[in-house]
């Protein structure tokens, strides 16, 4: 059984059919790509999967659990984490606190325990700090742990966002254009990071991307969206040679 099973997903905004009859099946451990020209509805699909929008029709199953129409908090708890196309870090918080905010639902103590500094506060905070540093080390950000997130260079901000998403302990990680705005060197490094994350955390990843080099380099399977509809899907090499896909990208 696939980890993520999406059937017949659709949503309209007013008269605009943003996503129509979208199907996808992702197996555990897969690195799956979602590509398409601008305005094809890729990010809308992400927003539907993470509960930002409620789908008009269709169903989403994660690991056998029906998460259709649940809100984003419930979906995060069910095991989907995401990053954003335009980076959304907590700018005025330290790098470590960004990750610790991601750990929010993994470690618990009550507000009262926090205010009165009861023993559990110290115990849990220590665990959180250790876990956060462990994650930062994976992305070689441990040196910058005390910096404000806003002061990180661009490439590291991207990494921090992935680290923060992983802190919620997801089953499925959604990356929305992780290479946007990166130079070729940074993209190369990012590709390595993504492959590493996949192996190290045994993670299933769904990735939106424009950079064809990155897509063909690391994704095994692709789905191509155009005008909210699936244009093609299958093995990366086959899809990228598909005539309809080339037309959609390059024109007639």
């Amino acid at each position: 059984m696939a980890l993520l099973e999406v059937k017949n997903l659709g949503i309209s905004f007013g008269g605009l059919r943003a996503v129509n009859n979208f199907n996808i099946e992702i197996e555990k451990g897969q690195l799956y790509g979602l590509i398409g020209p601008n305005g094809a509805g890729k990010t809308t699909v992400f927003n539907l999967l993470t509960g930002v929008y409620k789908p008009d029709e269709g169903s989403v199953f994660l690991d056998g659990e029906n998460i259709t129409g649940k809100n984003n908090i419930e979906i995060n708890k069910a095991g989907i984490a995401r990053t954003f196309q335009n980076i959304r870090l907590f700018k005025d918080m330290s790098v470590r606190d960004n990750v610790k905010a991601g750990l929010h639902n993994q470690y618990h103590y009550s507000t009262i325990e926090g205010i009165l500094r009861l023993p559990r506060y110290f115990k849990v905070e220590k665990e959180m700090n250790e876990k956060a540093m462990e994650l930062l080390k994976v992305f070689s950000l441990e040196e910058e742990a005390e910096l404000l997130a806003a002061n990180l260079p661009y490439g590291k901000q991207r990494k921090l966002e992935i680290a923060r998403a992983l802190a919620t302990n997801p089953k499925l990680l959604l990356l929305d254009e992780p290479a946007a705005g990166m130079n070729p060197n940074e993209t190369k490094e990012l590709m390595d990071t993504i492959s590493f994350v996949r192996k190290h955390f045994d993670m299933t990843i769904l990735l939106i991307e424009h950079d064809m080099k990155l897509v063909s380099g690391i994704c095994e399977e692709l789905t191509v969206l155009n005008f909210g509809e699936v244009l093609a899907e299958g093995k990366t090499s086959e899809v990228l040679n598909n005539k309809a896909v080339i037309t959609a990208y390059l024109g007639e």
Binding site: I73, A81, R88, F90, M93, A101, H104, T111, I115, E146
Partner: protein, 355 residues
């Protein structure tokens, strides 16, 4: 990691230290008789303002929402606790214990109002939220002005018209008399209690900020959408921060009410002027900086009184100080200068240590 924790703790300790040092200084001046009665009368209001500024900083600096109704919550705390103290004056003769209960009553009442007002208001953002909180603050003040409450052998009587319509027995006692407010509140506040409450407020706010809850609140402030995607419950944490802030404003109200024998809701003490003054403390002290709020509240409260002798120039100097403080806290050049000075001190200290 240890370094950072100690840095945080050190920061907090400095804040506590400043408050305690100020307390000791005042006590010394009092014992030497060097303090005018005017200044003595200012001590408890000073504590009130500090509590208000620190608690508003939770809403403005940490939650990142501009609230202009803080004086309204202070009003709720003041009236709820004054009413409580007046009713229980006979049954609880121990003034310390009664005041302790009054604080709890005031804090709880303000927290309830914080939640009730927060539920609709926190759906708004930015300027809209500021305007609506301003309105709620005024509504609270004006409502309090038309409440008549009396007590006689058959229980409580309530009216919103006048004392006659309370229909009380002749031996009844009027507790709240509309615009004339509550008279005869026991004078339970003192500077010592005020300082203790200031310390407790700072303790609650700083510990809240540096905890799991505080991180969630700050995450919401920095990026709501990202916070939601991490499974942080936006409504719950916004409401929590807002009501904690309101309930501490209520505590300030309790302190304020028990320092006066007659409590009335005037534009001067619970109106929007007051709310804006508290906001001025917070902004000038540095948004998000607890210590800054404390210092700004003290300086800006004392200054007009200290300059009383200069009479005509008083407000002029006050204005100049406002501008200088603003520049000192916010202009990038002043910040750089401040850091340079701090760096110099650090280097000196280091070289001294090496010697």
């Amino acid at each position: 990691m240890k370094n950072r924790l100690s840095k945080q703790t050190k920061n907090n300790l400095i804040t506590y230290g400043i408050v305690v040092a100020a307390f000791i200084l005042v006590q010394i001046m009092l014992s030497m008789g060097k303090m005018s009665s005017l200044m003595q009368g200012l001590l408890v209001p000073l504590c009130t303002y500090v509590i208000l500024a620190v608690s508003l900083n939770l809403t403005v600096g940490i939650l990142g929402e501009l609230s202009l109704g803080h004086a309204g919550f202070m009003c709720v705390g003041a009236f709820a606790s004054a009413l409580f103290s007046k009713c229980t004056q006979a049954s609880i003769p121990n003034s310390g214990f009664r005041f302790f209960l009054a604080i709890l009553v005031g804090a709880a009442a303000a927290a309830v109002f914080g939640i009730l007002i927060g539920i609709p208001v926190l759906r708004l953002k930015g300027d809209y939220l500021a305007i609506v909180t301003l309105a709620f603050g005024e509504i609270i003040k004006n409502l309090v002005n038309v409440i008549y409450l009396g007590r006689d052998s058959s229980g409580f009587h309530f009216s919103m018209k006048d004392t006659m319509s309370l229909n009380m027995e002749p031996d009844g006692e009027i507790l709240i008399k509309g615009a004339q407010g509550i008279t005869g509140t026991p004078n339970d506040s003192s500077f010592v209690i005020g300082i203790v409450l200031v310390l407790i407020t700072i303790f609650i706010i700083t510990n809240l900020i540096n905890s799991r809850t505080g991180r969630a609140v700050m995450a919401i402030r920095d990026n709501r959408i990202a916070a939601e995607s991490l499974g942080i419950n936006i409504t719950q944490y916004k409401l929590l921060a807002f009501s904690v802030s309101a309930s501490l404003a209520g505590v300030a109200g309790v302190l304020y009410a028990h320092n006066l024998s007659t409590l009335t809701a005037l534009p001067k003490n619970f109106g929007y002027n007051m709310s804006i003054m508290i906001l001025v403390f917070v902004v000038l002290g540095g948004i998000g900086s607890i210590r800054g709020s404390v210092i700004a509240a003290v300086i800006l409260t004392l200054l007009p009184e200290l300059l009383r002798g200069l009479n005509d120039y008083r407000m002029l100097i006050y204005a100049v100080v406002l501008i200088v403080m603003m520049l000192f806290n916010w202009s990038p050049k002043a910040r750089a200068l401040r850091e340079a000075i701090a760096g110099k001190f650090r280097r000196q200290k280091k070289s001294q240590e090496e010697v």
